[in-house]
Amino acid sequence: MNLNTLLSGIDVKASWVGLRYVKEDTDFRVVRDGNPEANARESKQGVMVEVLVDGQFAYYGTSKLDQAGIHNAARRAVEIAHAASRFSLHHFGTEARPVAKGKYRSAYQTALDAFSPGELSELLIKASRELKVSDKVVTTNAIARIVNTESHFVSSNGSDVEQQFMMVSADYAAIAQDGTVTQKRTDGGLLAKSYQSGMEVFNEADVLARCRNIGAEAVELLTAEECPTGKMDLVLAPDQMMLQIHESVGHALEIDRILGDERNYAGWSFVRMADFGKLQYGSKLMNITFDPTLTNQFASYAFDDGGLKAQKEFLIKEGLLLRGLGGMESQLRSGLKGVANFRASSWNRAPIDRMANLNLEPGDSSYDEIISSVDRGVFMTSNRSWSIDDYRNKFQFGCEYGKLIEDGKMTKTVKNPNYRAISNPFWRSLKMIGDKRTFKVYGTPFCGKGEPNQIIRVGHASPLCLFDNVEIFGGA
């Protein structure tokens, strides 16, 4: 299939026509308690045909990939755009789809076919067995998810972008039970170890060592004390900071949310257009970057799905809000500065403003300096529960594993650690931020947003962080 040939065969009255072909193969393997639970492949392919007519974009997503199918899709999209243009929220011009040319390919060391399905299954079986460190471990799971995506975007104003992604996510989990107490431990939260990488992440010695630790910590939690209740210092590991950044910074800064597109679903935002350049979002230690250029981070790319070239930008610098998460459509609608984040989950959805890699830059404090500065507090790691309001204000998050910090030292393990706060004051209470040695990279395949709904991959990286005087509590 030649996408440029298909494009040149379209004869419709439109200011602009674009074709975005996506082919994505997802291999998903799960071993539970030493037995195969899933050996699945999902192969999706199709073309999103988009047109601009009378200032209104319309789309027709089709899996009919011949000339007749693509032309019919373009013709119907033109009819739909024309009919809807009387009611357009915003009249766009072709500047909403800048000309883009280029290629991108994920960096990786070991290709998918270096592991046969049997070899990968064997590794997951070993991992599953390694997780069962004692009879108290009642369930073990070893999960591998490998995604290969090809994307090709061409347009009537000359764009031609080819991007190829290889993405690997893995997780290992143990559930331990003793009487009525049940505790679960994973490898940093569900599929938090998600990267653009190759099969090199399945290094057997490394995987099995992690599994032994995960199993041991699940058992350790069975006899741990309940997390204490009260206002105290909170130290968050980078794998929980991932969720913290995602929910209380990323979604709040999406310009399409601020413009109200999401008000019927995910919600609005406490951030307003007038806040850019003025709002002190967090303490002076807070520096947030949008960076789709980091090698191996989960949501790196060269161009977004509207053709905007991706580059690193500071969204928040020294705590001050500077820039939002908005692609070219949002930038034109709002007049705000944005980033290249106009992304679709697949060929069958239109792009909207999404996070990509959204990171908290490291600071100067060492791990020891942070822990030793705490008189009484709790260290929490690995997200297990998340909920935040529709304005991205009132959140409550829970973690799998906690440690009490007393007089500058980690002491007892605590179970069911939770905390709740309000985004703006919480980030202003950021008291210490870890250095590069505490900085870790994570990602998730599961960011949901949009109507119709879309699940998309995002990456987050963060150092260890200390927050002051946070409401902390335990389980039921």
Partner: protein
């Protein structure tokens, strides 16, 4: 579409070799979506897609897959043959699966429900002018959804359904909101305009100055839409037999410790409405009704045939994920017209938002109040409340704190579209609680 699926399935099933077993599933939709902001068109378009799923079994091993279909018969048969060949190469490399289930259902069914749905070109002109000056944001979704199943034992099912939904929020200048969904199978312009006018009238209530209430325990009424959100949590580490067995269920305490919910609470899986097909992804047909929680006691869980084989229990032909497909909660005796009077002084919650287990094993759910939520005094609405976070256990608010259940059940259609347009709906009444924990 049915012809396409039938021809592909006959070709592929007819090409199987001895010792090979195969279940094929079909999922597709021809949908129109209109995304609306400020009663204007933000995004609009159509999606035409279909996938063919494979559940392939050979000599004690299992591999599954799905491929996109083009709708062009020759091309799709080529894709399906290629995929079967790939599965044959892969499956011999896989470990044995002790709990695989060879498809043996020979049942057949056929259900096609056609409706009267406006075309993509007509929709904007039908739905936007009646909105007038009101600030409305939402999503229109319409068209046909297809499901099919065929297997090497001879089972065959087909389900196709036309439908539309307009799921929307109305918003005041003070950013107070009302939520509603207008859904059906046959478009009725008069009925739509009346429904919309009723929503706009409700929005007027939201123009009262909002009040802030403090964290604490309050008498609370949760309307049907909010209850539907709570019941949806039972699909996520709740009513699944596998989840209970594997230590991942909030209802484990009911099985393992004999804990009961209120005798006022009963929950069934009930397919009698016909919103969603009774056959699952493996072509197995669930009973029309399965009583799951009977007057507060765990009567049955959702059991897939795979789980049944692993744990030696009886299947009720749940889906492999053992999630609710047709939940229906039993009504009580609280008349809708008496709700405010019986609430007396407390909070009225029309909708909840962003629910998650804060302690799954303990049955504790956190989430937010959203949309039309009010402070009520002596049976009278006083003012909307600023949104509050709640964090409470089902063993409290569906247990001893459940005071009454509404006598009328409402249909809450699932308008989700992550994996394509959903077909199901939660049918449930509102609930009156003696106490509900609002925390932030």
């Amino acid at each position: 579409m049915e012809k396409l699926f039938k021809q592909i399935s006959q070709t592929i099933l007819g090409s199987l070799r001895s010792d090979e077993h195969l279940g094929l599933s079909f999922g597709g939709e021809q949908s129109t979506f209109v995304r609306i902001n400020a009663a204007k068109v933000r995004q609009i378009g159509k999606i035409d897609e279909a996938d063919l799923g494979f559940n392939f079994i050979f000599k004690g091993k299992r591999s599954t897959s799905s491929v996109s279909l083009s709708g062009i018969l020759d091309e799709d048969i080529r894709r399906a043959k290629e995929e079967l060949q790939r599965l044959r190469v892969e499956i011999v490399q896989l470990p044995d699966d002790p709990y695989l289930v060879i498809p043996d259902s020979t049942e057949t069914s056929m259900s096609e429900k056609s409706g009267n749905i406006p075309s993509a070109d007509e929709i904007s002109n039908l739905i936007l002018p009646p909105m007038g000056d009101v600030d409305l944001t939402g999503i229109w979704a319409s068209g046909t959804v297809f499901r099919g199943s065929a297997n090497s034992a001879g089972g065959y099912h087909w389900f196709a359904s036309d439908s539309f939904s307009l799921d929307y929020s109305l918003i005041t200048p003070e950013e107070k909101m009302v939520k509603a969904t207008f859904a059906g199978t046959d478009w009725d312009q008069v009925a739509f305009e009346a429904f919309l006018a009723d929503s706009i009238k409700k929005l007027e209530l939201m123009s009262l100055p909002p009040i802030v209430i403090k964290p604490g325990n309050y008498r609370t009424y949760i309307a049907s839409a909010g209850v539907a959100d709570v019941l949806s949590m039972f699909s996520w580490g709740g009513i699944s037999e596998a989840a209970i067995r594997q230590g991942e269920s909030s209802l484990g305490r009911m099985r393992n410790e004999g804990v009961k919910l209120s005798s006022l609470f009963s929950l069934s899986e009930d397919f009698s409405s016909g919103f969603t097909p009774r056959f699952n992804g493996n072509g197995e047909v669930a009973p029309e009704t399965t009583l799951l929680i009977d007057r507060g006691m765990l009567n049955q869980t959702l059991v897939s045939t795979r789980t049944a084989k692993e744990y030696g229990v009886e299947t009720n032909f749940a889906s492999e994920g053992e999630s609710l497909r047709a939940p229906q909660m039993k009504v009580g005796s609280l008349d809708e017209s008496e709700v405010l009077k019986e609430l007396g002084t407390g909070v009225y919650l029309s909708n909840l938002h962003y629910l998650n287990w804060s302690d799954r094993i303990g049955g504790r759910i956190t989430g937010m109040t959203r949309y039309a939520c009010f402070w009520v005094e002596n049976g009278q609405i006083v003012a909307p409340i600023e949104n509050m976070r709640f964090d409470d256990s089902i063993y409290n608010f569906l247990g001893e704190n459940l005071e009454a259940v509404n006598s009328q059940a409402f249909v809450n259609p699932d308008v989700g579209t992550y994996d394509g347009r959903e077909l199901s709906a939660v049918v449930c009444p509102g609930i009156l609680l003696k106490s509900f924990a609002l925390t932030l």
